[in-house]
């Protein structure tokens, strides 16, 4: 029973749990419930990943309607891997959020927070697992609407304008995806991704398909905050409650990157996107500009959450750079970085949230002297910061290593150099915070205030992520194995589909020749 419906459960469970969390009414109850549900979703996705790694693909027909007519859920190594990261971060953030939310969200809104968080989790799992292009749009909107609500729950009024800006941009992005899917449906008559992939190859040079590709790429780029379309992200992450920033920064944009990977590699096919349409060079240029511009922007901000938000946009640049290299190792670097960046940014935003909990501000000048007062929090910030920079023995190094070696594999020396210079910027923006925390004295006005370490409920999830940062930096077998099989799987299906179409054409060719012979004889 459970085995049979395993693929659907990570979506269904949080979706059903969300209204129950609202009905529970009391903050503590719905916190416990939401954490439990998210933990269960994590265990389920662990099961799914091990099943996907051993069996290959798990296909689940929703409501018993066989694909391509019904909606299909498809779990393979690629999305099970991202799903594991998303549910893990969600669980840790929920554990962390109890105290953080008490400080940053009005008491009457606590249950709403947990409800919206569960809805967002359900939407993100849905985006990852679904094998249907239209269904993907629906889940994208479920998660996005929950996200707008989450951002607007902070007590600072600026969160409202940030959420509104996010809503306008996000809706335009989602509508672009809807237009793109509509154009694909118009030409192919199907919405199932594998079905789409087979039929798109038949109409490679169709203008409708190419317009659809353009719309989907722009729409997804807004959702994942690719460089010129990232303007919604810094205010949203800055003014959202810290727990929300930690959750969104490490999951929402990552899932959007996955959507881009899925559309490029599964639906449209590498040859169509990179060879015929020349998307590779566009993505590469935008990624490099994102790394530079946003890393630079991060170094000149005064609010630490804004610093981390700009740093997130720059890190997304690394992921897009990896996939724009169009090789198994480049895609693998992207997949690893999706996982690793979730670990680093989660830990960093949690540490900053802990500082906000005690100090009430996240300006860099307010970090002065915190190294002594909050040693564990600042140590967590430092280690996660080193990971962003890419120091050996942390996960950041692993990501950069694979990215640089993927670039060097194709003799892209310039790209490799850009990646390394991006790290230098990271040294600057993380260094400014660490310098304030450890090498500046606590201001006189502060010394009388009671600033001490936060409670273990906030420290444990933070340190779990920090230890994961170090553990996966030393023992890379799990991440590289999963990412490698995920990217090989994506390339393999791509080649398989193309071969199938080639054979089809050959057969047709034979048939025509035979007919011609019949006619002549």
């Amino acid at each position: 029973m459970l085995e049979q419906h395993l693929a659907a459960l990570p979506i269904i469970l949080p979706l059903i749990a969300a209204p129950i969390a609202l009905i529970l009414g009391r903050s503590v109850l719905s916190w416990g419930f939401a954490t439990l549900v998210s933990g269960l979703a994590f265990l389920l996705s662990w099961q799914l990943l091990s099943a996907a790694l051993s069996e290959g693909v798990i296909s689940y027909a929703v409501g018993g309607w066989a694909p391509p007519w019904g909606i299909e859920l498809r779990v393979d190594a690629a999305n099970a891997f991202v799903l594991l990261a998303v549910t893990a971060i969600s669980t840790l953030v929920l554990v962390y959020s109890k105290h953080s939310i008490e400080k940053e969200v009005k008491a009457t809104n606590h249950t709403l927070f947990y409800t919206a968080h569960l809805l967002c989790l359900a939407g993100l799992s849905g985006i990852l697992i679904t094998g249907d292009a239209f269904n993907l749009f629906v889940f994208l909107e479920i998660s996005s609407l929950a996200t707008y609500t989450l951002v607007s729950l902070a007590s600072d009024r600026r969160c409202l304008t940030a959420a509104f800006r996010y809503l306008v941009m996000g809706t335009i992005g989602a509508t672009f995806i809807l237009i793109g899917v509509g154009l694909l449906y118009m030409k192919t008559g199907t919405l199932n991704m594998l079905d789409l992939a087979e039929r798109i190859d038949l109409y490679d040079s169709s203008r409708t398909i190419n317009t659809g590709l353009a719309f989907i790429m722009v729409g997804v780029s807004i959702k994942l905050a690719l460089f010129p379309l990232h303007m919604w992200l810094p205010p949203a992450y800055t003014h959202a409650p810290s727990a929300v920033s930690a959750f969104l920064a490490s999951t929402a944009t990552k899932v959007a990157v996955y959507v881009m990977i899925r559309f490029i590699f599964t639906v449209f096919g590498i040859d169509h996107v990179f060879v015929d349409m020349g998307m590779g060079i566009i993505l590469m240029v935008l990624a490099v500009v994102a790394i530079f511009k946003c890393s630079y922007m991060a170094t000149v901000q005064s609010n630490v959450k804004t610093v981390l938000a700009y740093s997130s946009v720059a890190q997304i640049g690394y992921m897009i750079l990896g996939l724009s290299l169009v090789s198994v190792s480049g895609l693998m670097a992207s997949m690893i970085h999706i996982f690793n960046h979730a670990l680093m940014k989660g830990a960093l935003f949690m540490a900053v949230g802990a500082v906000f909990y005690r100090v009430g501000s996240v300006e860099i000048k307010d970090f002065a002297g915190l190294g002594r007062k909050m040693p564990l929090t600042m140590a967590a910030f430092t280690i996660a910061g080193l990971s962003i920079i890419g120091v050996p023995l942390t996960v950041g190094f692993v990501s950069k290593w694979y990215l640089v070696s993927a670039a060097l594999e194709q003799d892209q020396w310039l790209v490799a150099a850009f990646v390394l210079v991006g790290s230098l910027f990271a040294v600057m923006y993380i260094g400014r915070v660490i310098e304030a925390a450890y090498f500046q004295k606590l201001p006189e006005s502060r010394s009388s205030e009671d600033i001490k370490e936060v409670s273990w409920l906030m420290l444990v999830p933070m340190w779990v992520l920090v230890i994961a940062n170090i553990y996966f930096g030393i023992d890379t077998s799990l991440t590289t194995e999963a990412a490698n099989s995920a990217s090989e799987w994506l390339f393999q299906t791509n080649n398989m589909l193309e071969n199938k179409v080639m054979e089809g054409e050959v057969l047709e060719g034979h048939a025509i020749e035979e007919k011609a012979q019949e006619v002549s004889s």
Partner: protein, 118 residues
Amino acid sequence: MSFILDYYNYWIVVFLMMAGFYIVISANNLVKKIVGLNIFQTSVFMLYISMGKVTGGTAPIVAEGVTQYSNPLPHVLILTAIVVGVATTAVGLALVVRIKRAYGTVEENEFDNKDDVI
């Protein structure tokens, strides 16, 4: 000329899409932005619904003597998309209400701090 007439549904879609998009970008008033967003989304509904029409086909209800039906699937899809659109509008308007309470205005050029401009 026939190029314009044959594809008149697309011209309507393109016009609505651009009009809505322009309102979203140019309007100062946040409610107008939401209205623009709605027009923008409506154009996509039109795109889907008009693509479901099959020339000579009737409404997709099984009836005797009818062999050709219009495609009902885009209509079903767009029902879902309309629900999504309504939900987005509701969240957007709720945000506008809270912005009005917090800032005292829904005109974005009247916000005190220029950083808050949307």
